[in-house]
């Protein structure tokens, strides 16, 4: 038996750390890692609610989150490598072509 608020607190902490990682890092790969942390926090919540309610769909959605995360990392890293090839840097604050 696990108290639901314990699990929710864990996921909230993970999500907040991910937010910090996304906002404070300038290396694009590290920003992507922060996004992974946030996605994992969401999955933890999905699993926790799925088990608390005795409803399996939450776990199916956690699987979908994992699949979408895999696609996101693949595309994200391809873009990062492309930017590196063109600009010799992957610092997100130096990539400002679309900024007015």
């Amino acid at each position: 038996m696990i108290r639901l608020p314990l699990v929710l607190g864990f996921s909230a902490a993970l999500f907040a750390v991910g937010v910090y990682g996304v906002l404070a890092r300038r290396n694009a790969v590290l920003v992507l890692m922060g996004i992974e942390l946030m996605l994992n926090a969401v999955s933890v919540n999905l699993i926790a609610f799925s088990q608390a309610l005795g409803e399996i769909s939450g776990q199916v959605f956690a699987l979908f989150v994992i699949a979408v995360a895999a696609a996101e990392v693949g595309i994200g890293l391809a873009i990062v490598i492309l930017i590196y090839r063109n600009r010799e840097t992957i610092n997100v604050d130096e990539v400002n072509l679309l900024k007015w």
Partner: protein
């Protein structure tokens, strides 16, 4: 606290500590290794919640595949060492925003789910149950996800290919 809760607390503490080290690491490869720790701890939490299928998928896909992708990304790009070079100037603002998010989430959770509320009784979550749910109720989203993966695969190839024409 029950034995389950103690085990969960250990996993959660190690996971959050590793996540904090991840976002403050001064070496990108160390950050990727801390990511392994975080993802494994989350997988352990899934196992504790008896979501065994999702737990092994987490280990296989995240720890096995996504971290390798990250390491490849780090190898193919040059990254300096040191927090000053890896972080931007707005670290204080970022910490403030993260703390605000944490406070908001904790406030909402403790309003909606009281400490003495219903507990999780881990059961179910086997591959059989998950598979039955996927192929009985979520066939269409499942196909959509496979299409998404195909599109991502082709997109990644197209993006990272060197075009000699231009």
């Amino acid at each position: 606290m029950t034995a389950h809760e103690w085990a969960f607390a250990v996993l959660a503490l190690v996971g959050v500590a590793a996540a904090l080290r991840l976002v403050t690491a001064s070496n990108v490869v160390h950050a990727a290794l801390y990511l392994v720790v975080v993802l494994s701890m989350v997988g352990g939490v899934y196992l504790l919640l008896s979501a065994e299928f999702v737990a092994w998928v987490q280990i296989l896909i995240y720890v096995g595949a996504i971290v390798i992708l990250f390491l490849f990304g780090l190898m193919l790009t040059k990254a300096p060492i040191g927090r000053e070079a890896l972080d931007n100037q707005s670290r204080g603002v970022a910490a403030l925003v993260a703390l605000a998010v944490l406070a908001g989430l904790v406030y909402l959770f403790q309003e909606a789910f009281p400490w003495d509320g219903p507990r999780i009784d881990p059961s179910g979550g086997s591959a059989a149950a998950v598979g039955e749910s996927i192929f009985a109720r979520f066939v269409l989203p499942f196909e959509a996800v496979s299409f998404l993966l195909l599109a991502a695969l082709i997109g990644a190839i197209v993006l990272s290919r060197k075009d000699d024409v231009a």
